[in-house]
């Protein structure tokens, strides 16, 4: 059975049905759709503005004027602010000690103002893909060709924000790895990877920011070292950088210079008298209790 679209009225005439209700519904739906899209567009614009603002704070704001002579940086559009502050620019402030725990659960505190060297703090995360090359490179400082004496420290968030096992898996033991959320707060780290360069002579930060490539980071550290006050005197002996055959050869040179040649009796002491010809008996070494060793390493 088919239902007629039209039907005669009581007076027998055919009449058109009223269409006002459909139109109103259409207007209401259209208004609702427009409203929803307006909200979406507003949200997207706001999100876009947030991103632009963040980029600007990191030093790579879209539309920012490019300094003259820095056209080459277009090839590597990385947010780079690491490096010494310009003369007259406000200082970056003192660098606090980084204190926390190691991935193994030991305690570790790194004072960054107790020497005449640079300290490069790398704030990394275990789950950050961008951090991966920095994890590898920072733990092989020699391959980075950083200035001599530069100390590298990797800082992750504390055990409340990072899985120690994952951090441990990335740590090689060649440079200190400290887990400390407090350090991230102290250094106002916006995210990882993030780097802070500290001048140990003053205990102040001389640069901070991010770099997109390991080479770029190393170059910035070298530049910072170059820009430091020339003529500084080193207060401490630098760690020996020789190893293996080179170290052996260097030791031979020193002994030869002191007149100690191969076969010299002083190289083969048999009694304490050979070591201390006229001095008192050697004191009991630390780690020896009641004549027996209680520790293997001293």
């Amino acid at each position: 059975m088919t239902v007629p679209l039209r039907a005669p009225g009581p007076d027998g005439y055919w009449v058109e049905p009223e269409e006002g209700g459909d139109v109103i519904a259409l207007v209401v739906v259209s208004t609702f759709v427009v409203l929803v899209f307006s909200i979406l567009v507003t949200g997207l614009l706001r999100s876009h503005a947030d991103i632009l603002r963040s980029l600007h704070e990191l030093g790579v704001g879209v539309g920012d004027p490019i300094p003259a002579g820095d056209q080459g940086s277009l090839a590597s559009p990385a947010p780079v602010t690491l490096g010494p502050t310009a003369a007259g620019a406000p200082a970056l402030g003192p660098a606090p000690t980084v204190a926390g725990v190691t991935p193994a659960g030991d305690a570790r505190a790194i004072a960054v103002g107790n020497g005449d060297h640079l300290t490069l703090l790398g704030f990394l995360s275990s789950g950050c893909a961008t951090c991966a090359p920095f994890w590898e490179a920072l733990q092989a400082p020699r391959s980075l060709e950083l200035p001599g004496g530069t100390r590298v420290v990797i800082v992750t968030k504390g055990q409340d924000r990072e899985a120690p096992g994952e951090v441990q898996a990335r740590a090689t033991g060649h440079v200190p790895v400290v887990m400390s959320t407090d350090a991230w707060v102290d250094y106002q780290v916006p995210g990882s990877p993030f780097f802070v360069l500290v001048d140990g002579t003053t205990g102040h930060k001389v640069g901070q920011g991010v770099a997109s490539t390991v080479g770029q980071l190393a170059e910035l550290v070298r530049r910072a070292e170059h820009d430091r006050t020339p003529g500084r005197t080193q207060r401490r002996p630098q760690p020996a950088t020789l190893g293996g055959p080179a170290r052996e050869a260097a030791a031979d040179d020193v002994l030869r210079g002191a007149g100690i040649l191969p076969g010299d009796p002083s190289l083969y002491p048999r009694t304490l008298e050979d070591v201390f010809p006229s001095g008192p008996a050697a004191p009991e070494a630390p780690g020896i209790v009641n004549g027996r060793s209680v520790r293997t390493k001293s």
């Binding site: 030991d106 207060r235 002996p237 630390p286 001293s298």
Partner: protein
């Protein structure tokens, strides 16, 4: 002033000091906590008593290690002293006490029991001649750490299946 805590040892590091508190891997045998402090960058791979570190000291530097021994040492004559030394005097430091004799340096070593744990405190001055200036730094350090008694784990206290 930063604080570090681990293995029953807590330290509020005086300005300029850094440090670490660790236990060596058990693969080396029975191991106990060691705390090391220095006014210079401490490499990670150094000996318990500072070998590998004392050669990096400048004349104004101080190195110290707090070394715990096994519980079998408690009650022995060497650890009869109760509590850490309250303060050192410059006369307490001597070049012949050094674990490794380095020209110009001097050291001191004390054995004691505190919190029921046997310890040795070993400190090195970067310059014996400057001991009048450096010993107060050691004294500040000695008062900065706290030793927490270790509760022996009794079999009944361990988690176990019923």
């Amino acid at each position: 002033m930063s604080s570090i805590v681990a293995h029953g040892i807590a330290a509020r590091l005086p300005d300029g000091f850094e440090g670490r508190i660790f236990v060596r891997p058990r693969a080396l045998g029975a191991t106990y906590p060691v705390a090391q402090f220095g006014t210079f960058p401490l490499p990670d791979d150094i000996g318990d008593f500072g070998s590998g570190a004392v050669t990096l000291m400048g004349p104004d530097d101080v190195f110290a290690t707090l070394f715990e021994y096994g519980p079998e040492s408690v009650g022995t004559a060497l650890f009869a002293r109760q509590g850490r030394p309250p303060a050192f005097s410059p006369d307490d430091f001597s070049p012949i006490v050094l674990r490794r004799g380095l020209v110009g340096q001097s050291g001191t070593q004390w054995f004691f029991t505190e919190a029921g744990r046997p310890f040795s405190f070993y400190a090195v001055l970067g310059s014996h001649q400057r001991r009048e200036l450096l010993v107060p730094r050691v004294n500040t350090l000695v008062t900065s750490f706290a030793l927490i008694p270790v509760t022996p784990v009794t079999p009944g206290a361990r988690p176990q299946w019923n």
